[in-house]
């Protein structure tokens, strides 16, 4: 019992858990029971917990949350999650529940399975056993424990051995967004040996309420699998978003994940990967573009468990207004992980004197023949560059946008799905009061 936790509302969760009736395999029921017990012990973390020093979850902890109703949506509710020029299959969830009408899964390419977890649990749960809830541990993790206890549905994505999926798959979570509602999105991506896939996970709100999303995504790549994962969070600026991405790579695998955060009042993302065998590579990237009173906290962990693995990390923040960013990047290099090559970079652009960023690398290195580099920068717009642009006739506002765009350009280059990249370019320009042919800037 430490002060680093707030258990005031824990009994309410336990009650809700007891009241729920689910038809599901015994192994999952057992996991859930462990999870809710764990949560009851843990409670919500407070700012006394070192891991949450800068991120105050009190408004979530004290909230009385009810499940989203999944009620009716406007016909254009998915507009914000539609990336012009991107066709491909799409699996949609409204308030965390599968919405077959809005999903387009009829022509899935060979080797790709994308289904509702709930449907699969009811019909053929065997594919999930040993995977679902097995990667994202909840020992000391209250939020993951809650998701595990309460998720009703979510996406299961399975890529068959050697299948190379050409078109990106989209997973969309729409919250109806009424104030006081909570959703528990859950995703499991299981990429078979030597398979290849791109998955875009998008979170949006249909209304501007103070709702809460608490998501968990598990990704496992078997030997030499290649997974490119993108997470776009563009929820209501009133919303709370807590998310966990837990990844595991087997021999010679490659996983990249890019966390793109523009929405929510408060965001806390825990992005973690274990490089569990030799020859793995991973890229954990992020772009945060916030203003007003928004708060975004990224806690990342790269666990180099075995030798000859490379990890790259580039997190960039563009902070305006009195917004606040937190980046905590932990890299563990275990004794066996010789010849590890880890690069971490966190770069921040503060557009206002009231914006703030706390950035901290954390390296724990137990091997002696490794290369780990890290760096963090915090800067303002370059005044000389601004004047140079203005001296050529470019207006002050446009000059600012151009420099912000330029700051984010190398990160945007890492978004290999062109329509998504263009979407973000437009958002970036718009968030800075500019909406023109952004993609030409760097051409």
């Amino acid at each position: 019992m430490s002060v680093a936790a707030d258990r005031t509302t824990a009994p309410r969760y336990l009650e809700a858990f007891e009241a729920a009736r689910r038809e599901e395999p015994a192994w999952l029921a057992e996991r859930r029971r462990l999870a809710i017990e764990r949560f009851s012990l843990l409670g919500f973390p407070t700012t006394k917990d070192e891991e949450y020093k800068y991120t105050n979850l009190a408004r979530i902890a004290r909230g009385e949350w009810r499940p989203g109703s999944g009620g009716s949506l406007q016909p254009d509710a998915l507009a914000a999650a539609t990336y012009e020029g991107l066709e491909g299959p799409r699996i949609v969830f409204v308030d965390g529940r599968f919405d077959p009408e809005r999903s387009t899964l009829s022509e899935l390419p060979e080797g790709l399975e994308a289904t509702s977890l709930a449907a699969l649990l009811a019909t053929a749960p065997d594919a999930l056993e040993g995977h679902l809830t097995r990667y994202a541990d909840f020992e000391g993790r209250a939020l993951t424990a809650l998701n595990t206890a309460f998720f009703e549905d979510g996406a299961f994505i399975r890529v068959a051995e050697k299948a190379v999926i050409a078109e990106p798959l989209q997973v969309v979570f729409v919250a109806t967004g009424d104030a006081g509602t909570v959703t528990w999105p859950r995703v499991l991506i299981h990429a078979g040996r030597q398979s290849q896939v791109q998955v875009i996970e998008t979170y949006i709100s249909a209304a501007e309420g103070a709702h809460w999303t608490n998501s968990v995504t598990e990704i496992v790549g078997e030997d030499a699998a290649r997974v490119e994962h993108f997470q776009v969070q563009q929820e209501s600026v009133e919303a709370f978003h807590t998310g966990r991405v837990e990844m595991l790579e087997e021999r010679s695998g490659y996983i990249s994940t890019i966390s793109l955060v523009l929405g929510a009042a408060l965001t806390r993302n825990d992005v973690r990967i274990t490089l569990d065998d030799e020859g793995c590579e991973c890229a954990l990237d992020g772009l945060v573009v916030i203003s007003g009173k928004q708060h975004v906290d990224h806690h990342t962990l790269i666990d180099h468990a075995k030798a000859h693995c490379n990890s790259h990390q580039l997190y960039k923040g563009v902070l305006d207004g009195s917004s606040r960013g937190v980046f905590n990047g932990k890299i563990i290099v275990r004794q066996d992980a010789q010849k590890t090559d880890a690069i971490q970079n966190n770069k921040n652009l503060l557009l206002s004197t009231k914006a703030e960023i706390d950035t901290k690398p954390q390296l724990e290195i137990d091997a002696n023949d490794v290369r780990c580099t890290h760096g963090a920068t915090i800067g303002q717009l370059d005044k000389d560059a601004l004047f140079y642009l203005q001296a050529r006739g470019i207006g002050a506002g446009e000059a600012r946008s151009l420099l912000v765009y330029a700051f984010a350009a190398d990160l945007l280059e890492r978004i290999t799905v062109e329509p998504l990249k263009r979407h973000l370019e437009r958002l970036l320009m718009r968030s800075l009061g500019r909406d023109s042919a952004a993609q030409e800037v760097s051409e």
């Binding site: 370059d382 140079y388 203005q390 001296a391 050529r392 470019i394 151009l402 420099l403 051409e443």
Partner: protein, 256 residues
């Protein structure tokens, strides 16, 4: 075109320009020479609208308007062009995008149609050829990784594209070898016209062999201590800046 009267400027509590007067008529080329730290770049920066200067006295009238009232981008659109002594590197923004945004901002201000990508490329390619510049540079980020000479040439190239009314070249010759200097001078000379004026800031007389000025002014300690025609540059070359220091000390002021 440009009328500067008794301009006084402070930078961080220090008076840098101590009463400069200069009158530039359409078509004229004025050279401003002077030792390091005499205030040449400060003068150029004030005209272009750089921030950080406190104007404590005097006035600047450009085409009948109070120039000091205008934002830098408006000055540029109104035809003022500063070729920077130290051009700025802007990673992530291509020359192509930058220059097109600039040109279209200027054209829009003049009530002209904006150029589309195809028209724009045709225009820049033609101008680049004159300055013997490689097209590949268009795709590169503004000035990033450019050599000193390339940066200077890029300034003149931008000037050729933007076609200003009043060009201020701040030591565009420094860092150039003789071949590059000739190219740059040719570029500048091809832009000379009866309604385009230029202020050429330079340290050395050499540039003025190629860009022949109508007037030469010598600036020292924030004052124009001597003005004359192109022969003044030669005299200065011969006598050295020590002579200027003496002039400044004696308070003597010679105008044409």
């Amino acid at each position: 075109m440009l009328e500067v009267k008794n301009l006084k400027v402070r930078v961080e509590e220090r008076e840098i320009l101590k009463g400069i007067s200069l009158s530039v008529k359409p078509g004229e080329v004025h050279a401003i020479m002077g030792p390091n730290g005499s205030g040449k770049s400060t003068f150029a920066g004030v005209l272009a609208g750089r921030e950080g200067y406190e104007i404590t006295g005097g006035s600047v009238t450009y085409l009948g308007q109070d120039l000091l009232e205008l934002d830098p981008e408006v000055r540029a659109r109104e035809g003022i062009f500063l070729a920077f002594q130290y051009p700025v590197e802007i990673p992530g923004v291509s020359n192509m995008y930058f220059l097109r945004a600039a040109l279209n901002a200027v054209r829009k201000h003049r009530g002209e149609e904006e150029l589309d990508a195809v028209e724009f490329i045709a225009l820049v390619k033609e101008r680049m050829k004159k300055l013997k510049m490689d097209d590949a540079m268009l795709k590169r980020a503004v000035n990033q990784g450019f050599s000193g000479g390339e940066k200077k040439r890029n300034e003149i190239f931008q000037m050729a594209v933007l076609e200003p009314k009043l060009a201020i070249l701040d030591e565009t010759d420094s860092g150039l070898d003789i071949d590059a200097l000739k190219l740059v001078a040719d570029g500048v000379n091809s832009l000379r016209s009866p309604d385009r004026s230029m202020i050429v800031v330079t340290h050395y007389q050499r540039l003025l062999d190629y860009i022949v000025p109508d007037y030469v002014h010598v600036l020292a300690h924030g004052r124009i201590v001597k003005s004359g025609d192109k022969h003044l540059a030669l005299e200065l070359e011969k006598k050295g800046y020590a002579w200027v220091e003496q002039l400044a000390a004696s308070g003597e002021m010679v105008t044409v």
